[in-house]
Every structure is written in C-alpha cells, then in structure tokens.
Symmetry: C2
Subunit: 209 residues, 2 copies
C-alpha cells in the first residue's frame, strides 16, 4: 500500500516531505487537504494531526505528523533506496543532527514569520518583520562560516540537514532583491546547489510561490 | 577523557543536557561559562558554539552544540548504560520523534518567551505574553489527549521526548498559580512523574529558578 501524504502544494511543511519522498524515490499518494474549507480542523483530520496543521503521513496503520519527524521516518525506512539522507557514522550523524536542530531552532521561526508577513503583503516590514530579518541574517552569517569548511551544512554530502532548508531557501531566493546572499558567497552557492536538485525542482514547479 | 559540558546551572538548555547525562549515568566535567562577563561571545567559545549560546559539549575531538542534538548523541553513544532514552523499534522511534519535534516546534518557543518575560519581571503579561500563554495552553490541550492514551509523550516509557520538556515543565510547575494544570489531570500526573526522577531532582537542586 502506497504512503499517503496529506497536505497542499503551497504549504512549506508539506513541500519538505514531498522533497524527501522524491529524493528517496518512494511512490506515494498525495491527498490535497482543502484548508480553505477548514478540512484540516475536522475531527477526521485532527485524528491524523492533533494540531490541525499540515502535513500528515499515513503508512498503513502508522500515522505521523511534524514534517521533520516524517522525513526522518522516510529516510530511515527507505535506507539504501534513492539518496542517502542520514549519515551512517555516529559522529557524522551527531554533527548532521546539530545542523538539523539549528534549522529547527534558529532558521525556521524567523523564516516562517517572514513568509507569513509576505502573505499578508507586509514584506516591506514593520518593526517585528525587521527583527526577524535581522535574526535570519545572523543565522546566515553562521551558515556562511560553516559552508566555507563543509560543502553541505550537515557534512560532506547532501542530507536532511540541507533538505529541511529547501522551502526556506526557495523563498529567500525569490526575494533576492533583499540581498540575502550579498556578501555570503558560500550560502549563495549552497542554495543554488540544493535548489537545483531534481527532487526540489519537481516540488517547486507545483508551488504557487 | 571525561565529556566536558560548557554551560550554566541557570540555563534551561544546559539543564536539558545535564538531565540526560545523569539519566545515562555518564561521568562528565561541568565547566561554568561566565555569561555575565560575556565569555560566551569570545572567539574561544564561539569555536564551540558559533551562535554564542549555551551549552556546548566536548567529547575528545568532537564539539557539539544545540541541546537536543547533544542529548541524542549521548543517548546513542551510551546505549545500554543508564536509562534507555531512545526507542529501539523503528515505528516506536518514529512516534517518539513526532513528540520530540512537537516540543521543538510548538512547546519550546512560547515557553522560552514566557521565561524571558518572567526574568524581565513581566509575568503578569502584556499582549505578547498573553499570546504565548494562549499558545502554550493549546499545546497542553493536545498533550492532555495524548497522555490519556500513552503513559509518556513518546510512548510507553520515558524517553528524550519527555526529557526535553523537563526545564519547561519545571518552570510551569513553579508558576502553578496560573493554573496550567487545571482541567488537565493527565498533564499534571505526567509532570509530577517526570519532575520527580532522580536525575531531574539533581538538576533542579542546582537551578536558581
């Protein structure tokens, strides 16, 4: 039975899981959740994700939510198929985990706030928006240093540490007038590399943003 | 050579790692970082954690930051010693990971903001504080449902999914006048259980808050 991914092509968290499934070359069924009609707040969907947010994954009897938990499940389950997304060596895995947690703790929140502001037409920025921009820039400064020493954030090959950034870097690239990459050549090269991977190109082609 | 943990006994992220080390019964050296003197912003500390924040862990040549990446490293490295903190079964591990990510994505941010506000003497609450309180309450509502079905958040035994919440639940318990546990008996029982574990009691005894 195919995996079932519940989400929308516009949701950054759904996109993260789609990218993972394409990288792993895993067949799946995509089930669009009609958020405009409030389908994600119905008891049926809340049984899949009690927070009423996207996405959710069903694999037979197993139901999972939280995009990063889903990608880890897929990367572990389909070990040996498609792209290896998890380091085998325990020390390398620990370092990959540091950068996965950095994305989760430091990159995601300002990025999510900026994308919310953009959707509300507030990209120019009030005080809060400028604060999130400043936060994100300081994260990118650390990434610039890291990427001078390491081809990818998590280590010498593309892993979930990079993949989890795809929706965010896609958004930042589309607003490049803001100069996110100015003075950060390693971040720019890394973004160009990961955003040109066929799995992401496929996801981006379906995204309305 | 003993593991070296750099942090302070007042830092919630350091406490998370201390709790893990005590659960795993791993000998370690605690090195207090003088944050009042700005030691966490010196080049020497930034080489350990490029964000200039607590904690960092050194294990011989390996240096790690981000508290949750450190706990995962310790739990994996010392598998078979002390408390098992990671599920062995892949499906159970996936479910544990969902609740670890829930803590990271949904619980941590409002909790951190509330603790910041408390430190600044703003517990009574301006509009932002009330918004974070509301967010945290809605997370606890989901936990109440989860804990009706499962003794621990991550599954049938205590794991990192619970451990990562310790500093936060400790803080919420100390402000119980606010009624966090009112109407949430399963959350209250779970909090009482995990906060009475000897490893956490040891950490809490050193905490100034």
């Amino acid at each position: 039975m195919a995996l079932k991914l519940y989400g929308t092509v516009a949701s950054d968290t759904t996109q993260r899981v789609q990218a993972c499934l394409y990288e792993k070359e895993v067949h799946f069924e995509f089930i669009t959740v009609n958020t405009a009609a409030g389908e994600h707040k119905t008891p049926r969907f809340l049984a899949r994700n009690p927070f009423g947010e996207l996405p959710a994954l069903e694999d037979g009897d197993v139901t999972l939510f939280e995009s990063r938990a889903i990608t880890q499940y897929i990367a572990n389950k389909y070990d040996g198929k498609g792209t290896d997304l998890i380091m085998k060596d325990p020390i390398k895995l620990a370092i990959q985990t540091v950068w996965m947690d950095t994305e989760n703790q430091r990159f995601d929140q300002p990025f999510s706030k900026l994308i919310e502001a953009a959707i509300e037409g507030n990209e120019g920025g009030n005080k809060d928006v400028r604060e999130y921009q400043r936060k994100l820039e300081s994260v990118l400064d650390v990434y610039e240093q890291r990427l001078k020493e390491s081809k990818y954030l998590g280590g010498d090959s593309f892993t979930l540490a990079d993949l989890h950034h795809l929706p965010g870097m896609h958004y930042l690239r589309s607003t490049k007038a803001k100069g996110w990459f100015q003075g950060r050549p390693h971040v720019r090269a890394w973004a160009a590399d990961i955003l040109s991977r066929p799995a992401w190109v496929k996801v981006a082609a379906m995204s309305p943003w």
